[in-house]
């Protein structure tokens, strides 16, 4: 049984996944930890936790691919790939037919156009603004005095979503406070906030062509309010894998498995070639 590992060191959380190729390829272990200040340690911890869950030793893992913003800080990875390639590849694997990926993570929002074999055709990302990221939502949660896990479900209960004119994280903070002062319901405020972010994200995604099927990946995919708002704005449903949060790591692990195959094949072929030329 060959095992490949993907470690996705995100700005906020580090995700690691082990993928085993045993008749069929499947995810056998996952680990999720906060990245914190020590990126190297976070990657190591997530990887070891994964090995423990799967009951294997790090030595059993044939190849490790690192991805995410902290990928170059992973000391034990054999290769580094961008999270864009990894999300595309992961979504192609777990949500077959995916042609567009909307990835909303801790500090970035991306839209990726994916080819028929999981390759990246084009992508756009928010490099200047926190709108549409997990940071935006955790800020909103802080202002409202609730937890990040509560914002999505609450927003689904909105009956008259408020208007949010700008999506700047700082400005929305003031907007939320003044709506609260006006006595607006938390549900309606959050409904408006999610809708504003969904509109912004979809307009970002329109800069690459949005083609069905559309997958959502990244930590924000766990927020049902954002999924609903995006589906409203897009006018169609999204493919969301239970492993959406781990998609970057899953993609990295697929690349890792491929690398094992390549090195396996090249060793075998080279060996055969040497043997045949010897005759």
């Amino acid at each position: 049984m060959r095992i490949g590992a993907g470690v996705d060191v995100g700005s906020t959380q580090t995700k690691a996944v082990l993928l085993a190729d045993n008749a069929k390829i499947e995810v056998v272990a996952r680990a999720l930890i906060d990245t914190g200040a020590n990126v190297r340690m976070a990657a190591q911890d997530a990887f070891e936790k994964c090995c423990q869950v799967a009951g294997v030793t790090p030595g059993d893992v044939g190849f490790v691919v690192g991805t995410g913003y902290g990928r170059y800080k992973i000391s034990f990875g054999q290769a580094q790939l961008t999270e864009i390639s990894c999300h595309a590849r992961g979504a192609h694997f777990l949500c077959p037919g995916t042609r567009t990926v909307i990835d909303m993570g801790g500090q970035d929002a991306k839209a990726i156009s994916v080819g028929s074999s999981g390759e990246v055709l084009d992508f756009v990302m928010n490099d200047k603004c926190a709108a549409g990221t997990g940071r935006f939502l955790s800020n909103a949660a802080d202002v409202m005095g609730i937890t990040l896990d509560e914002v999505g479900p609450l927003s689904l209960k909105a009956t008259r979503p408020v208007k949010i004119a700008t999506v700047c994280t700082v400005f929305v903070e003031s907007d939320i406070l003044s709506y609260l002062a006006q006595g607006k319901r938390a549900e309606d405020i959050l409904g408006g906030v999610h809708l504003a972010i969904a509109k912004r994200t979809v307009s970002l995604a329109r800069r690459v062509t949005i083609e069905p099927e559309i997958s959502m990946t990244g930590g924000v995919a766990r927020n049902p309010g954002m999924v609903y708002a995006l589906e409203q704005v897009l006018g169609r449903s999204l493919l969301i894998s239970p492993d959406a949060h781990f998609m970057g790591a899953v993609g990295a692990a697929i690349f890792a498995l491929e690398r094992i195959d390549q090195s396996f094949e090249s060793t075998v072929l080279r060996g055969e070639h040497a043997a045949s030329s010897g005759n």
């Binding site: 700005s11 200040a37 500090q107 200047k128 603004c129 926190a130 940071r135 935006f136 800020n139 700008t166 700047c168 994280t169 700082v170 400005f171 003031s174 406070l177 003044s178 609260l180 002062a181």
Partner: protein
């Protein structure tokens, strides 16, 4: 004798200024000032600032003949006689102080504005950050929070930078990671803060150039109290940057000046 209050309901602080004029044509005299942190209840913050100003001026609420509100929260102020945009009041306040035209840069808690002022103290043209908080005081306030230093000491610390470290993020929220990276790379707090001031100065400079830079910029708003920021502007723009005393009361002053004119017309 008209006694006018100019109240600037900003996003960060609410400033009140009391002014009077002994006779028409005579110069306006500032009697007192007050500043409190803004809250979602505009009336409450404005009352607090006004009471502080009344105490300083030694006047009673009944003595006030006219109240001109300005700033982000001006329409939330229930006891106003008039609401005037902060762009108009910034121009008028700055003109009152220097008695000549020229550009004004106003950097507040959430807003950054460059205003071209005519030779009569009116707004010629302006540019403002209406979509996001990049370049505003909030950027600095958040950075100070991450660095765990008091906002009041930011300006002074920044002046002592040796090797300013530029910040490439323009988003006040995303800059956090960059600042943390600088800290973990061992960059001094002074160099980080000056880098932030220089990044903000760069953005402000671009706005100023669009309204006409001239050779003497009047720098107002709460952020103008940070010497490091004024220094960064001088360095980036290569022009004279003047920070008036009570630089964060300029809009309140402009509101009072315009309020006096208005109350004279009314009577």
């Amino acid at each position: 004798m008209p006694l006018v209050a100019g109240i600037d309901c900003g996003t960060g602080f609410t400033k009140a200024l009391l002014a009077s004029q002994t006779a028409p044509g005579k110069p306006l005299t500032v009697l007192g000032k007050g500043r409190v942190r803004s809250s979602v209840n505009v009336d409450q913050a404005a009352t607090g600032a006004l009471e502080e100003a009344m105490k300083a001026a030694g006047v009673d609420r009944r003595d006030i003949t006219y109240i001109a509100a300005t700033g982000f929260g001006r329409y939330g102020l229930s006891f106003r006689d008039i609401a005037i945009t902060e762009i108009t009041t910034a121009a008028r306040g700055a003109f009152f102080l220097r008695q000549r035209p020229g550009p004004v840069l106003d950097v507040g808690s959430q807003c950054t504005r460059a205003i071209g002022v005519t030779d009569r103290g009116k707004v010629n043209t302006f540019k403002s950050n209406d979509k996001c908080a990049a370049g505003s005081g909030m950027f600095i306030a958040r950075a100070a929070k991450y660095l765990n230093i008091a906002l009041e000491s930011v300006g002074e610390l920044s002046l002592h930078a040796q090797h300013p470290q530029p910040i490439s993020s323009i988003c006040a929220v995303l800059a956090e990671s960059e600042i943390i990276n600088h800290v973990s790379a061992g960059v001094s707090v002074e160099d980080i803060l000056r880098g932030i001031h220089e990044s903000l100065a760069e953005r402000a400079g671009a706005m100023l150039k669009r309204v006409g830079l001239g050779n003497d910029v009047m720098f107002i708003g709460g952020v103008a109290r940070q010497q490091g920021m004024a220094e960064a502007l001088r360095h980036k723009l290569g022009v004279q940057v003047t920070v008036p005393e009570d630089c964060d009361f300029v809009c309140a002053l402009g509101a009072a000046v315009l309020g006096l004119q208005r109350s004279a017309v009314k009577n």
